[in-house]
Amino acid sequence: MVKKIDVRGFSCPQPVMLVKKAIDAGENEIVVMVNDEVAVGNVQRLAQNNGFTVEIKRQQDEKLIKLKK
């Protein structure tokens, strides 16, 4: 099951905290919806530090970050 997290509109640290919660809960596949560049960088760093591969897809005004372990 892919875990979907919508962090649009949140400024850091909320996006990182929400993704970290999912990582700590043992999720292996996470899709994060983001519309803030700072959050994109921070979520990417968190995921890579935790051994996830990161794929970023642009969708108009927002981005989808796919995390996979």
């Binding site: 979907k4 919508d6 649009r8 509109g9 949140f10 640290p13 909320q14 530090n49």
Partner: protein, 352 residues
């Protein structure tokens, strides 16, 4: 918790440039022991605009203009200018005002605090202790689900308000209109201050440099990314102070010795700044590229700075007034209430 270390070069460069400017600006004419201070400079700007009546603390600080516009310029180049806002603006204004009052009771924003320590002002360590405790309390609120709500994407006219205010301030400064205060005389040449502000802000826009974020992320997720900038600023300002003959261990100018109020003032600031999501400098940088919530926060800080002097809340080298002590306690109570009453909604975190 294991702290992850991976060199964050952009953040380190930002801290390095900032530290170098901090010490150099003192040499070039800024107040001693206060090369750069985001809240003190907003306070001086408030005075210049007539929002308080202390003539010697009245000068539109070009650094503030640079802090806002540097990020505007870089964000336009990198296409990161994006207008967003609507996350509890009136609470941000209020928190911004109280943060400023707390910082003015200590006499410095987190950046000046680092610069003070780097100059040998050990009294500033009391502020650091308070700041860390305040951030720690803020992190507990974050862990319990505190947030001020989501921002919305807005039409870009809102995003241009703060950059245009900065340009307006620059025009007022250069035009020297009679209703603008110019009583503050200890300052570096206008162009030097402006360029320093622009450069630091430009780097910070890229690196997301933030003093509060540095300590917060260490405590919250064991991430040293932003903290590296905090250390770089401290170390480089220290080295430059040594070279420039400005390192004088002991009690330094524009500071007071009241431990409990240095501590409590910065506790208030640290707690509020975690709630706001970044230090005063970072708020200005964010306000420059479309974050209207950061913009309203900066205006709240300007308002708080005016009140801090009109109500005699700000400390002086002689110490802290009774009014200032009451305001700090009131501020801590109000921030705690905000912390307990703004929790994640079901719409907030649990989507999907």
């Amino acid at each position: 918790m294991l702290i992850k270390f991976k060199p964050a070069w952009w953040v380190i460069i930002t801290g390095t440039v900032f530290g170098a400017f901090f010490a150099s600006l003192i040499k070039w004419g800024n107040p001693p022991n206060m090369g750069v201070c985001a809240v003190c400079f907003l306070r001086d700007t408030a005075g210049a605009l007539g929002l308080h009546r202390i003539d010697t603390l009245s000068y539109i600080r070009p650094e503030i203009i640079g802090f806002i516009l540097g990020s505007t310029i870089i964000a336009l180049i990198t296409r990161e200018f994006k207008t967003m806002g609507g996350s509890s603006p009136i609470l941000r204004l209020l928190i911004g005002a109280f943060v400023t009052i707390g910082a003015l009771v200590f006499l410095g924003c987190p950046i000046r605090m680092l610069g003070r320590i780097a100059g040998g002002d050990w009294v500033a360590l009391e502020g650091l202790l308070g700041l860390v405790v305040g951030i720690y309390i803020g992190v507990q609120f974050l862990k319990a689900g505190f947030n001020l709500g989501r921002m919305q994407i807005l039409p870009s006219s809102s995003g241009w308000v703060m950059p245009l205010i900065a340009i307006g301030l620059l025009i007022l400064l250069v035009a020297k209109l009679e209703f603008i205060g110019f009583g503050g005389k200890t300052h570096a040449p206008l162009i030097v201050s402006l360029v320093a502000g622009l450069i630091v802000s430009g780097f910070a826009q890229r690196s997301r440099f933030c003093t509060i974020g540095g300590i917060r992320d260490l405590i919250l997720i064991g991430d040293s990314h932003l903290f590296q900038g905090f250390i770089a600023l401290l170390v480089v300002a220290f080295i430059f102070n040594l070279i420039l003959g400005q390192f004088n261990p002991g009690k330094l100018p524009i500071a007071h010795m009241e431990f409990i109020w240095n501590f409590a003032g910065m506790l208030l600031a640290g707690l509020g700044l975690v709630m706001l999501g970044g230090c005063p400098f970072r708020q200005m940088v964010m306000s420059g590229y479309g974050n209207t919530d950061a913009g309203i926060t900066v205006l709240g800080m300007l308002f708080g700075a005016g009140l801090a002097h009109n109500f005699k809340l700000a400390a002086s080298p002689q110490g802290v007034s009774l009014n200032g002590k009451i305001a700090v306690l009131l501020g801590i109570i109000i921030l705690l209430i905000i912390g307990f009453t703004n929790r994640e909604t079901t719409e907030g975190a649990k989507n999907g």
